[in-house]
């Protein structure tokens, strides 16, 4: 099936009636518009090769000339890298799992909530896309910093003396990362929720299924492809996450991305930064290649409107 990921019903577009043929994004092959795809694609594909692929090839050349093939083995055996890699992987797994649970609930809430509440929930979610990642992370810094908002608030409730000292801990990264990544999970799942078949719901009910059975046998199976796609997207994004670990984790709680940054901007070691960056790239591309075979990643970005 060609391009299933491109047909996303936005929140303002009703889902096609069940059983109606899905309108394809294309003029059917052989239609005599005379438009040649090759002519249209020449510019974007050339730009992609020159400005996207070439820098990555150049980086590979740099890594091989500075560090050699052995450089990759050295980095993979390096304790700092393994420590950062372990932390990054743990963060990515936990953040993805939590986003999957909370995001599915949020997407369902957007559909079943009373009209006004549903609109508010959608607005709040989209504000996450529109308000700068950096600025939102900065909000978390102000919350967690010593004598910051959280400390003050807990103290005023009499629950705390002194300070929690959460900034520069791995713990504090979780809420901030979940906050940033949740919208990426929710939007594709929300789009799928809008396509739930009401006939199936009614059928399940008339056969006596309670809420849990309906969830397990009608709702979740319908959402499964979008949940898998969205979770993969969140997982890949969190592996390469940079701003939040930098501002909240700081120099003691390195992730792969902040370790690369340290090698590059403090140690001025472009060679080893390149090796680490390429290892990260290979891991993400391998995941993308596998995931892409089964589901189409539906990025939620277009629902920002």
């Amino acid at each position: 099936m060609a391009g299933p990921g491109l047909i996303v019903e936005g929140p303002d577009r009703p889902a096609p009636a069940a059983g109606a043929p899905r309108r394809e994004a294309v003029a059917a092959p052989g239609e005599p518009t005379g438009i040649r795809a090759g002519a249209l694609l020449a510019l974007p594909l050339t730009a992609g090769v020159v400005f996207l692929l070439l820098p990555l090839v150049a980086l590979m050349a740099r890594a091989l000339s500075d560090e050699g093939v052995g450089g990759f083995a050295d980095v993979l055996g390096d304790d700092t890298f393994l420590d950062a890699g372990g932390r990054t992987l743990t963060l990515a797994v936990v953040v993805t799992a939590i986003c999957a649970v909370l995001g599915t609930v949020y997407a369902l809430a957007m559909v079943i909530a009373p009209r006004l509440l549903g609109l508010v929930l959608l607005g709040v979610l989209l504000s996450g896309f529109w308000i700068s990642l950096l600025v939102r992370t900065f909000g978390w810094v102000l919350l967690f910093q010593p004598n910051g908002a959280l400390d003050q608030w807990l103290r005023s409730l009499g629950l705390l003396d002194g300070t929690l000292d959460l900034l520069q801990t791995t713990k504090a990264m979780y809420p901030a990362m979940i906050h940033v990544l949740l919208p990426f999970f929710v939007l594709p799942v929300y789009a799928a929720c809008l396509r739930i078949d009401t006939e199936q719901l009614r059928a399940g009910q008339s056969l006596g299924a309670g809420p849990l059975l309906v969830l397990r046998h009608v709702v979740l199976p319908h959402l499964r492809p979008s949940i898998v796609a969205a979770a993969s997207l969140v997982f890949m994004l969190s592996l390469a996450f940079y701003v939040t670990p930098l501002l909240i984790g700081g120099p003691t709680q390195l992730t792969i991305a902040t370790l690369i940054d340290r090698q590059f901007s403090q140690q001025f070691d472009l060679g080893s930064a390149a090796v680490m960056g390429l290892i990260l790239l290979f891991v993400v591309l391998a995941i993308y290649a596998v995931v892409d075979r089964f589901v189409s990643l539906i990025p939620g970005a277009e629902a920002r409107a």
């Binding site: 491109l6 294309v26 909530a113 709040v124 009401t198 809420p211």
Partner: protein, 276 residues
């Protein structure tokens, strides 16, 4: 919107008491999503010298400090000078990709995979690659690598938005035009592009917002002291606790909100024309 209401009602009915639990969880999660914004807003209006909580409200002095400071206003201007060409390049490339994919006869799945791939590309790796190329061409101080890099990263966003627009337009119109003798060029120029106008504008605005917010490429390729607004904010948070940062943050939010409002306006206007 009747479908939407019917779906809501039958889901509610089927989920029974679980529906209420989901509502409550949704509200709690919505509050969680608002936390950092609620924190940052009052701080930017603070009258204190340092970033503290609770802030003493009612002061616009940090906004004044922002606009009086050459460092901050130059960063803002630099952001604008970078974001506009980024949006233009990404819009052209993204629109061509979407149209090309729609008219491709073979390899569509592969093309789609390629066009979406930059969204999951580790940007930090790409930024290193751009830096490496910029260094080889002796262009590390130039804005050009930042513009090209951000444009490549924003292209898939435009591609997705325009593809959604292509899926929503009537595919018979271009064929009808062609059967009436329109050339390929005029089908594209006089049929497809006008039909996709709103999607293309939406893609361009989102690309513009993306560039204003993008930090990794801008940070890795900017010489110290001459970054875009987000780079300047990032640099300042690591060095000082100057509340101008919070004011700058509010300005970034203001820009994004303006772009979002323009987008909503364009959509509403197009919607009215479509139903008129």
């Amino acid at each position: 919107m009747n479908d939407r209401a019917a779906l809501r009602d039958s889901l509610r009915l089927a989920l029974g008491p679980a529906g209420l639990a989901i509502d409550v969880a949704g509200v709690l999660l919505g509050l969680f999503l608002l936390v950092p914004i609620v924190i940052i807003f009052p701080v930017s209006l603070t009258s204190d010298f340092f970033l503290t909580w609770p802030p003493h409200l009612a002061s616009s002095r940090w906004f004044e400090a922002f606009f009086d400071s050459a460092v901050w206003t130059e960063a803002l201007m630099r952001s604008i000078r970078i974001a506009v060409p980024v949006a233009l390049i990404a819009t052209v490339l993204g629109t061509l990709s979407a149209l090309g994919l729609a008219y491709a006869r073979r390899g569509r799945r592969l093309l789609q995979t390629l066009f979406i791939a930059p969204l999951v590309l580790p940007i930090i790796t790409y930024a290193l690659g751009l830096y490496d190329v910029a260094q080889r061409f002796d262009m590390t101080g130039s804005a050009l690598p930042v513009i090209l890099g951000q444009a490549m990263l924003a292209t898939p966003i435009v591609f997705i938005v325009v593809s959604a627009g292509l899926a929503g337009r009537d595919p018979l119109l271009p064929r009808a035009a062609a059967s009436l003798g329109a050339s390929a060029a005029s089908v594209l120029w006089r049929i497809e592009l006008p039909l996709l106008r709103v999607s293309i504008l939406a893609g361009a605005l989102i690309a513009l917002a993306y560039s204003f917010d993008e930090i990794i490429v801008a940070y890795f390729l900017s010489p110290p002291g001459s970054g875009t607004l987000p780079v300047q904010i990032l640099g300042s948070t690591r060095e000082t606790a100057d509340p101008t940062i919070a004011a700058a943050s509010m300005i970034v939010i203001g820009i994004a909100t303006t772009i979002a409002a323009l987008l909503a306006l364009a959509r509403a206007f197009a919607g009215r024309r479509a139903t008129a």
